[in-house]
């Protein structure tokens, strides 16, 4: 049974996962028994009652009340069990423990931002304490997204102009994947993030140091790190290949044609503007879809990113 579970479902890493899996397996087992029965009946009947001759006569069996009541009532009882079981599990998912640790989540096309109590912001990396309920308060900046952690069995749509929430308690430390499951356009399938569950002390450490710039890094190294941390590389390549946005390769001081036909030079001011107000000047052939990084990056970090872009040619 464990083998089957392992094959069918991702590892169960949250407190509610066990209940979901239990019901999944229950429905699977009952369905399997019934399916085998039905398939057997189909095959057995078509062998046993195969037409022998054109003159075959068949008995007139129009109905059988007892049988029909049985095959209506028994499935009804079974589905009512499933209904109650599923509803209880759902209520557990929807009832947030009062001591839950709160994190703000913002979905943007196409990245996830996580805002923590001390002002720390992380992009596409959610860090949570293990063995403690965590409540995510979520909203979207543009279209509908959906926040899904398969290992935790949680999912909730992230809506514009409205808060939705999802809570979970990770049972062990470790990393899991976060997907966007509501179709949101071109880079929908790149809107992937990770959740890392830490022990309480590791989490405190991470929170205290996450947004502190490592002084030992050179601006170029820092820029490279920031590009990775902020999800820039989901849309911008460093090898010249065309993704959602223009590649960084060879872009420094290049002439770039805009949608309106004018031409700009990709200099420090253009790059800075493109980070803070991405839709002000759109390169020809691209769509105005990049979210603004206003408030997410300090001047020093923007400088570092520009330094890094200079080196990619």
């Amino acid at each position: 049974m464990d083998k089957v579970l392992e094959f069918l479902l991702p590892p169960a890493k949250s407190t509610i996962a066990g209940q979901v899996d239990g019901l999944f397996i229950f429905i699977l087992a009952v369905s399997a028994v019934l399916l085998v029965g039905i398939s057997f009946a189909i095959i057995y009947f078509s062998w046993k009652y195969k037409r022998r001759s054109e003159q075959d006569t068949t008995p007139v069996i129009t109905h059988n009340t007892k049988l029909e009541v049985a095959w209506s009532v028994i499935p009804l009882i079974l589905v009512m069990i499933v209904f109650g079981w599923g509803f209880t599990g759902y209520m557990n998912m929807r009832t947030v423990p009062t001591d839950a640790y709160e994190i703000r989540v913002v979905g943007k096309s196409w990245l996830w931002e996580f805002h923590y109590e001390n002002g720390t912001v992380s992009v596409n990396e959610l860090h949570v304490p293990a063995n403690r309920p965590v409540n995510l308060v979520m909203s979207s900046n543009d279209v509908i997204h959906s926040f899904y952690i398969p290992d935790y069995r949680v999912k909730r749509d992230v809506l514009p102009n409205r808060y939705s929430n999802v809570w979970f308690e990770a049972m062990e430390t470790g990393e899991s994947v976060i997907f966007c499951t509501e179709y949101c356009g071109r880079a929908h399938s790149n809107m992937i993030a990770t959740v890392t569950a830490h022990s309480e002390s590791d989490f405190e450490n991470w929170l205290a140091t996450a947004n502190v710039i490592d002084e030992s890094l050179s601006p170029v190294e820092l820029g490279k790190e920031l590009i990775a941390k902020n999800g820039c590389n989901a849309c911008h390549s460093v090898d010249g290949s065309r993704m959602v946005g223009p590649s960084y390769k060879g872009s420094w001081m290049a002439e770039r044609e805009l949608e309106d036909g004018s031409v700009v030079t990709v200099d420090a001011n253009y790059l800075r503007e493109s980070i803070l107000e991405p839709n002000a000047k759109i390169g020809a052939g691209y769509d105005p879809v990049m979210p603004s990084y206003q408030g997410l990056l300090s001047d020093r970090e923007i400088d570092a990113i520009i330094e890094y872009i200079k080196t990619i040619d």
Partner: protein
Amino acid sequence: MSHMETSALKRLQVQRFKPEENPEIHYLNSERGLWSWLSTVDHKRIGLMYLASIAIFFFIGGVLALVLRTELLSPAQSFLDADVYNQVFTLHGAIMIFFFLVPSVPAALGNFILPIQLGAKDVAFPRLNLASFYIYTIGTVFTLVAIITGAVDTGWTFYTPYSTETGTNVLLMTLGIFILGFSSILTGVNFIVTIHKMRAPGMTWSKLPLNVWSLYATSIIQVLATPVLAITLLLLVMERALGIGIFDPALGGDPVLFQHFFWFYSHPAVYIMIVPGFGVISEVISTFSRKHIFGYWAIALSSLAIAFIGFLVWGHHMFTAGQSSLASMVFSFLTFLVGIPTGIKIFNWLATMYKGSIDLKAPMLYAMVFLFLFTIGGFTGIMLGALSVDIHLHDTYFVVAHFHYVMMGGMVMALLAGLHYWWPKMFGKMYSEVYARISCALIFIGFNLAFLPQFVMGAQGMPRRYFNYIDQFQPFHQLSTMGAYIMGVGFVIMFFYLLHSLVRGEKAASNPWGSRALEWQTTSPAAPHNFEHTPVVIHGPYDYHKPMSEFQLGIAHGHHGESHQPETLETVAETGTRP
């Protein structure tokens, strides 16, 4: 209606009309030329024109599916870019649902067979029927223009606010579907009136073929639900064209409202697609088991129950969308209730096979494939109806697989069963049974190979509508793609043997399957007005214990008792509904 009960019994002079074999004049050759087709009001010809149209759209949708599956062979981009991929999956869904599935059994098979099954000369409003076909054509033209002038990338669900913000041709596409809806409504109205008013003498509600019952249930849904789609699409158009805030939060609208509107139509629409399939399966299983259908009323009424409850379950598409927990609970509960009548049908069909005289011809094989695949589709529907499990499975490949098991494993298999079953009546030709079986086997194997792995990767967490995916899902995607190719081969074989049948197929007998149903008591291909006489029905369509001659009765020729026909006899038929 009151006079009906008082004069339920009426004496009729009847005689036997044995259907002529190899008729010289039938509906296919009674008139010739392209114009005779384009201007025809014959329900059979209109049915065939629908059949040709849906075959073309099934081909286009199928090719798009193969393109998608080929791209998904590898986790990263191979030969499509993300935008094209998104447009292709949108078109695959929209074409298969709105242009193929919705009109498939009701408009194509239903149009052809419904009046013959009732013993009527045509549908109640033949001109309206032709109008529905042209409205359908205009709708598809609009959509094709939308595709050519800049495709649509919203998914077939058109969720706002994405669909109001994307730069693609959503307006024209929704307008096309809006127009299509009218075709669907008019066909529904036509069928309802036909079933009420055009039944042959003696065909009471309790002698109605089950296919007619399910078309009746379908028509009710079409008439009641399709206007909601029209309203929704109009609101969407108003928002996009005029900037009136209805769904877009930037304009003060509510995006979840769109989902309510959309599923209020689209969930019943799922039943528009599958319920007619139930009718076909009932006919085929009874005919090829040569046995009375088990639980006639259970099957007939469960279709109506499904049609009714089907209106009340739309919220189960929105368990993660932010509706209240109470609403989710109610929708989950009702979803399980709608599962029961569906389960009852499966057991009824099995019981019909019990002690039958089963002939495993192609239509029966497809019906059995239907039973197996649709049962899997049903069980996985139970999983998705369970609230806590649905949270995990929602919007993953599990849903994609479930939907394909129901729609393709259910509806398309039923369509194929029906197509092979009524093919001789349509064209007066037989097809190669051997190739039909090979193709059925390939489609069965290919289908399971394509969609079983999708259940597993969905449960593992693979989201739907993903252009790229993480490496762990690759083996499942590769199996799935292989399955899709095998299915493709199956359909290519089918295309060729059916084409061969049309060109040089063996002549079909009027009743090649030995069925008791009324549509088999006329010539193959059917006569221009279905029957040369007015059929009179004294037995139900599944009364295999009664001799064939008693199913071939019609109102006797000649005047007042002038009985030059030796077979003329007198019978009492319950009538009263025929004017």
